[in-house]
């Protein structure tokens, strides 16, 4: 049998990799993809505990998380397209018009 905490370790691992991706990469699209990794790690935790407590609340919440991820990806990518149209770059370091 598989104990619950193995799933939690997997979730923690994915979460860490996602956080490293968000903090280190320059390409804005890869940053968005790392955010998706973080959301998937959260989903794994939710579903693991949903199975542990034998209630489907965790899975319902995971569906909401997926819905949220879709909405956020759509808006984020729309922003990137608008940004690209103005500045011709997807490098996060070059989007610094508000810097003093």
């Amino acid at each position: 049998m598989i104990p619950v905490h193995w799933y939690l370790y997997l979730g923690a691992g994915l979460f860490t990799i996602g956080v490293i991706g968000v903090l280190t990469r320059r390409n804005v699209i890869v940053i968005l993809m790392s955010i998706e990794l973080i959301l998937n790690a959260v989903n794994i935790n939710l579903v693991a505990f949903s199975q542990y407590f034998h209630s489907t609340n965790g899975q319902v919440f995971a569906i909401f998380v997926i819905t949220d991820a879709a909405a956020e990806a759509a808006v984020g990518l729309g922003l990137i397209i608008a940004l690209f149209r103005n500045k011709e770059t997807v490098n996060a370091d070059e989007i610094d018009l508000l810097k003093w």
Binding site: I17, V19, T24, N43, V47, Q59, E72, G78
Partner: protein, 173 residues
């Protein structure tokens, strides 16, 4: 030593694929390759869902995430593709500090999980819960217990759709 059985092998295989492809996502130079590795990660996460007897979520993950969100990502990557971006340095200047911070975070998480890890085995479900299948149970949860969040989520999706269309449109001055 614990005996090795098929669920454990499946779990180790899925986790290995998930973690390795996640590392590939954040290290590839080409954004499309990152997207492909993310698709593989999402597939292994869907496999983990299936192992946890969450079959509806397995299908929803593949339909929505892999079949919808990642297609959107690929579209945008193809539209904003720059060869120049691929030649620049991919990692920001403060990557060492970032990795160290993330590792501190991981250490906290692992320690927290490790503290509580005894007695955390999955138990078989009670007989009443086992009678309804997973999709029906989620349907009851979504449309009876959590009806209001469903309506709010639909509003959220509407706002996101309108917002994305407005932002990505060309302005006709």
């Amino acid at each position: 030593m614990m005996e090795i059985n098929l669920p454990q092998i499946a779990f180790f295989a899925l986790s290995a694929v998930a973690l390795i492809s996640a590392i590939m996502v954040i290290t590839r130079r080409n954004a499309i390759h990152s997207a492909i590795w993310l698709i593989i990660t999402l597939f292994s996460v869907a496999g983990v869902f299936l192992m946890l007897h969450a079959e509806f979520l397995f299908a929803v993950q593949i339909i929505l995430y892999v079949g919808g969100i990642m297609v959107l990502f690929l579209f945008v990557i193809m539209l904003v593709n720059l060869d120049l971006a691929a030649k620049q340095s991919q990692f920001s200047r403060q990557w060492i500090v970032a990795v160290l911070t993330a590792l501190v975070l991981t250490a906290e998480l692992v320690y927290g999980i490790f503290l509580d890890h005894r007695g955390f085995l999955f138990t078989p479900p009670p007989p009443v819960a086992a009678a309804t299948n997973n999709t029906q149970a989620i349907a009851v949860g979504l449309y009876q217990t959590y009806m209001l969040p469903v309506e709010i989520a639909s509003l959220l999706l509407l706002v996101a759709m309108v917002g994305a269309v407005v932002m990505a449109k060309r302005k006709f001055e």
